[in-house]
Symmetry: C2
Subunit: 327 residues, 2 copies
Amino acid sequence: MTTTSKFGRVERHIDVDKIPRSDDTILYGNGQGVLRQTGDQQLAAQPAKRWSRSHEVGLPLSRRNLIAAGAALAFTGFPPIFTRPANAQGYDTSTIKALVFDVIGTCTDYWSTIVHEGQVINREKGLNVDWGAVATAWHGLFPPGFADVLNGRRPWQSLSSLRREALDKVMNEQGPGEFTADEMAHINSVWQRLELWPDTLSGLQRLKRSYTLSTLSNADMADMVKLAKFRDLPWDLIMTSELAQSVKPSPKVYQLAPQFLGLRPDEIMMVACHKQDLQAAKAQGMRTAFISRPLEAGPSGQVDAKPDPQFDLNAASFGELADLLKA
Amino acid sequence: MTTTSKFGRVERHIDVDKIPRSDDTILYGNGQGVLRQTGDQQLAAQPAKRWSRSHEVGLPLSRRNLIAAGAALAFTGFPPIFTRPANAQGYDTSTIKALVFDVIGTCTDYWSTIVHEGQVINREKGLNVDWGAVATAWHGLFPPGFADVLNGRRPWQSLSSLRREALDKVMNEQGPGEFTADEMAHINSVWQRLELWPDTLSGLQRLKRSYTLSTLSNADMADMVKLAKFRDLPWDLIMTSELAQSVKPSPKVYQLAPQFLGLRPDEIMMVACHKQDLQAAKAQGMRTAFISRPLEAGPSGQVDAKPDPQFDLNAASFGELADLLKA
């Protein structure tokens, strides 16, 4: 496929078929109804099968290869290659006052960060751990942990402790188990150092001029504060599910936003690359913007990155979102 | 008194005796021990007597007269005129990672803001309300409201609603009562538009380079978010007592800081112009920095602005605090 970049007026060739995506979803009960899970999470919840996935598909985990696989779309701020819903360009932004953002996945490339830090660990310790598989398995263990909290089978606890629990499981069952407690704590703190998507910082800076920007993340407050400081993220406010002692998609988390921003729900737009997150925000009366992050789960991870007219806006980058929001 | 400004090397004459201050304190029970209250709050809690205070002392409420009364100290960033505790210059800052700030009074000049907005209202509506007296009486009604919440006589409620309650009382009992509901709501939202002390913004910008900065205010989250956006305050995090469903000096409010910052209490410094606030922070293991704000309660308000060696640092401005913290 050939497309023209509105930024550089340069024609580039992108093979859409090489961009990993999936419409596969599974359903699982959460005690409050049924949640949609992306195919990636379904696969990732089976770490034994996925541990060596990257070798099976023959994709060494370098950024060069990510780009070679057709990933340039997400890294260079191209205009979207999919057809935009017809209403997007004329969208009435006049009553929107604040944007609240999912962070893990939407603002940050957690998968590549884990791989990059893991590659350094491999070199330093002479290991050959497949960190892409670790990243996929680790992240895949969150939904079950979340579901237990949502179900009330477990009381609320810090997301960082749930992440550490999942990491221990992945490393003990699958990994080399050669890490000290301090090293494991350091690995678990990777969520404080996540790499941003290339459009995140410039997009947020543009959006901040016209809107109040806040996180609304399923992470600990402390992790989000440290990440923001480490990456110079220009948040006006940091809110996470910790403040509601719950996790998204619980309504209690979304209800933090109008309360702490002092706005009506319809003056607030949730921005996320996860459709379940946006659906829950919409159910609370908020506006919604879907950001396509086809590489969220790695070069061969399966995520639903297709635009969807059920959301107010669809964009392939924060820059495009800023355009649509006239920021 | 003659002093030399380190900024401009210009000699200026300041009459220390004209700078209002007071060591008077009262004690009142809060169900958790005894709180110290400044003399200003004691006086302010008697709005009937204080309503026409500014006329009694013959001080028209213009900024020109504030300065003429010796207030230039706080407005021009002079070096402090008091003797600094001997340990301040060699203070070990190496383990401090975050600063948390009282906002109303410490970062902002609430008294002047209320007066300035009120003077505009007077002009627009042809009124002659003494807004300095309103400011003093209004702010003075907070401690009793807080005490009821701390005592458990009233459940926690938004600080904004407590402020509105106090404003209604002041305006109905003392004022002209000529305001619509919308106008009263606008007056109550003044806490979202507070003027900063002249050193606040530049000081915070310096401190932000070396430290994580957060509010720790007895205000609603929404008010602090809107104030931060309105005044470009560079907070890394906004925390208020609303998150603890309590109010300072309750320990629960201070305990938010280590939890949400992911730090030990002794890695966090509380910055405030209220000694009671700092004493409570110190009791939670936090570091303390006292900022002298002699004009917090207006040109003739009585506040305790004297440095105190019980605190780790004492400073007359955020710029001086940045110096002491090597930021």
